[in-house]
Symmetry: C2
Subunit: 251 residues, 2 copies
């Protein structure tokens, strides 16, 4: 029986969602825990989005094939028990609708990227922010970001490793706001290319520093060439906040 | 020459502000770093409030005696350089006003206590919240908290180790608010007794669980007896947010 899980994790020290040989992944921790509830067999697990090493999730969505005799609460609490002491928690478990796929059924994804913009290194939020010491002009960043909203060919903001067939994506929202020394980029769209949000952040930071004019982002977008854009922003500032489906799966 | 510093730290793994034999303190890290800028001599350091082990600070205030030939920026960056890799950062350094004392000149202190109220263990904010799995009624907690506002004898909410001469304190604000599964207690006053905010949180949690009626907090307050109150809430949910003085020291 297929279950839909909402999962939160701190990506610090993990190699990302996907199983890899060079370190511990969210997938491996979840699969190992799930096997304990599944007669020792690792069940099939599919995710809404494969987050990179160091990237966090507040509302990752996962589909897992587990016995039907469990209650939603037993699935949630059982997985959480066996995932100790890792910083990965199942927040909710619900029976998955017929034919539902966490990745392909998703209609909306919400990401947040946080820059800590001050001279002093982060303490309380270390590992959760990109530390940029040079003062950034978030008004210029917001103005520059406007051209990214809508449907475009995002080849310039796409990792070379990206496996998507098309570079065309639609950005529904890209808000840059400052609260004290924290600058937050809220980015929403149906789906994203690999490194897309981090590449937005990396280029917008150069605008914020004044090294690029606000018009540069539109120039980069039009170039359809990864080499035209700025470097990829550090992973730990990024959090996958939420994934939406046509039906509300979770309460 | 006396300098005023605004300091941020993550209290995780530290024994608190004050030097102790059983582990590393904020004071020891700061003093060791300061000695590097002071011919190897540990300078005199005084703080606005001695936070406990595991308690955080977003705006701790410290007075430090350092050579006058430094610029404010050199003090800040020099201390931060030598405090690596600890999660302690000087956010600002300014020359201290004549006769100013960080503890006795303070006229207002702002604390925040965060409860993560859900079944699943914390991940991203582990070490920054008190995890309470049982659902809490924050409306009842706010109602119960109202009697704590104003000037009272807070003996019931005072640690036995508290060294203050008088148990009389004035609470200017105590707001309980919920945002999703986070319940935040914002507490403000001129000064606080030892464990006072954590003792508020510990008793209000029992009201939130429904184990105590909202009227119980007033009963406890009137008892003037620590044994009447609930247990002390865990330290890691607490952050010293800000300390105010008659003059604005920091920008």
């Amino acid at each position: 029986m297929f279950w839909a899980l909402m999962v939160e994790y701190d990506g610090t020290g993990l190699v990302g969602w996907q199983r890899q040989d060079n370190g511990l992944s969210v997938q491996e921790v979840m699969e190992t825990a799930a096997a304990r509830l599944n007669d020792g067999q690792i069940p099939d697990i599919v995710t809404a989005g494969r987050t990179d090493a160091g990237v966090h999730a507040a509302g990752q969505v996962v589909r897992i094939d587990m016995p039907s005799h469990y209650t939603p609460r037993q699935i949630r609490d059982g997985l959480n028990y066996h995932m100790k002491p890792h910083k990965i928690s199942v927040l909710q478990a619900v029976p998955a609708p017929e034919g539902w796929n966490p990745r392909f059924s998703a209609i909306h994804r919400v990401y947040r990227y946080i820059i800590l913009n001050r001279a002093a290194r982060p303490t309380i939020d270390r590992g959760q922010v990109w530390h940029v010491a040079k003062p950034l002009n978030e008004i210029a960043m917001q103005e520059a970001a406007r051209c990214l909203i809508g449907q475009h060919d995002f080849s310039s903001f796409r990792a070379s490793s990206c496996q998507a067939k098309s570079p065309i994506r639609t950005i529904d929202k890209l808000n840059v706001t400052r609260n004290g020394d924290r600058i937050t980029l809220d980015v929403e769209g149906r789906s994203f290319l690999h490194h897309m949000v981090r590449n937005f952040a990396g280029s917008l930071k150069l605008v914020g520093e004044g090294r690029w004019p606000t018009s540069q982002i539109a120039t980069i977008l039009a170039a359809r060439n990864r080499a035209a854009a700025g470097p990829t922003a550090e992973p730990q500032g990024l959090t996958l906040m939420r994934v939406d489906y046509p039906l509300n799966l979770f309460t």
